[in-house]
Point group: C2
């Protein structure tokens, strides 16, 4: 029997930072949570984080191969965070360097979507796949792409910004300064806006969250179902074009909106298949849900970076 290896996975978020000790079979052995906003400076935060990492490492029943950290806007190639809209510290944060000053482990830093893709490949529904796209449907829309068995970083670490491909020319205004980005329709905020528009036009009290839309769909609310149809149509149509670039075996949905399961998947698949170029129809890719949705995916994905 091969000896087990261990890694520490860190899911750094604007409000909370979750972390855990993970083995190479994807089991989470122990975990902890830091309140990200409780630290005045990033140095204070890193000091506490490193102390916790050392505690986990000491508790590991075998070799610890490293620390993987996923964070919004973190760049694998530079190991730094820039342009983070939500973190309490606004400066350039050379996170990997800060961690490596205090730790003797191998440290990898990347954005949350790329970490999730790595986790999906090691522990989830992309086991054995060499070419797939994981798309995160959360507050924003991001993606982690795998080609020839490796994460695609691009020359600058910024590959996979699928949320900012234009889905509708001159469509909804986007935080990036342009209009009609995929994210404005298929993020949690985007789908809520779609619902609110329909409901206000019909004199109804609009849903207050994307979760409410899913719950309404579950009891057959026709507006909620229509909202998922419209959202899936935008998503499937755009993904059919993204497909032509790398022709993946699967497109995997992850994040809050993916909890809607078939309410989202069915119309997305329909639009995808209708829009897809004929040459791909013999080798139709699978559109499926993440296998890590309910399993501390972000911590597992971060740990997978170094496992």
């Amino acid at each position: 029997m091969a000896k087990k290896k261990y890694a520490i996975g860190v899911d750094m978020g604007a409000s909370f930072t979750k972390m855990g000790l993970v083995d190479n079979d994807g089991n989470l052995l122990t975990s902890a949570t830091l309140t990200t906003t409780a630290y005045k400076t990033v140095q204070d935060f890193v000091a506490e984080l490193c102390m916790q990492i050392q505690l986990f490492a000491a508790a590991a029943p075998g070799e610890v191969v490293g620390v993987g950290l996923g964070a919004p806007n973190a760049n694998f190639l530079t190991g730094a965070i820039d342009n983070s809209a939500n973190l309490p510290w606004k400066e350039h944060i050379p996170l990997r360097d800060l961690l490596m000053e205090q730790l003797e482990f191998n440290v990898a830093v990347t954005n949350d979507a790329k970490a999730a893709a790595k986790g999906e490949m090691l522990f989830g529904n992309a086991k054995g796949m060499k070419n797939f796209i994981l798309i995160t449907l959360g507050t924003g829309v991001g993606s982690g792409i795998v080609v020839n068995g490796e994460i695609v970083y691009g020359h600058d670490g910024l590959a996979g910004e699928l949320g900012h491909i234009i889905a509708k020319p001159n469509g909804r205004p986007c935080g990036c300064g342009r209009r009609g980005c995929l994210e404005t329709y298929t993020s949690a905020t985007g789908i809520l806006l779609t619902a609110q528009k329909i409901m206000l036009a019909n004199g109804l009290i609009p849903f207050q969250s994307s979760k409410e839309i899913t719950e309404a769909a579950m009891i057959g609310n026709p507006i909620a179902l229509e909202v998922f149809n419209q959202t899936g149509k935008v998503l499937g149509k755009l993904l059919a074009h993204v497909h032509t670039v790398i022709s993946p075996e699967a497109i995997i949905f992850f994040g809050g909106l993916a909890n809607a399961k078939d309410f989202l998947l069915v119309p997305t698949r329909k639009a995808f298949e209708e829009e897809l170029l004929f040459v791909y129809k013999k080798s139709m890719p699978k559109l499926i849900l993440s296998g890590l949705q309910d399993k501390n995916a972000a911590i597992l994905g971060a740990a997978a970076m170094v496992l």
Copy 2:
């Protein structure tokens, strides 16, 4: 000094098949041309091709490492040609198997755009690049994509069909059965159609080829310049979105229309930069011409597959 290696590159086209003996510095030592249409069956064609390959191999001053063949619609993973609109033989052609029955060399078969990308990486303007897109602007529009230093085939060998991403919803009808594909605007046929529409609307005798448009642009013809502006705008805008998928270091233009050089490149770059998501503006990719345009690129690219 490292010993030189040699490969035989074959550029199989609907009318002619060009082939040559190539060394690992990208020198073409000797070449020959077969008339593809002169053979009643693909077996006859392969027999003649293999005889010619044996002659080249015998003439090589050192080790021959293999045979690379590029052909429209050839699939690297299956080694076969399917759906070829233009070849004289319409059946499924298991080309790699047919060649390997008669040859003792390593044989690689792929489509022409992927072979060109490989050639560009070994001998052209992508030397040392790990992430780039080569886009072929010829009778059709295709692409060869390189990620992490490797050609992207996708799970089915069909990655890189950028010519069939929709550039204009409900736009020009495309041979694939859909409307508005990039290819209908930025192929040799597409640009000619753009020119003819403008000229007929103005009571002028339209250009008869894309080459004529380039020649007219060179002497300052305002319609030809406007046609390149419109074409570059469509191309640059779409490439800005493709860029977000893999974030390449460069996008390289290859094929007939690329001979127009700055007439096409300048408006393409302008539209690309205007449309590009802000996060990429610090690490702006290079939009450049192929380094192999006038150098038997297709033969070199095919040979590069095995070198």
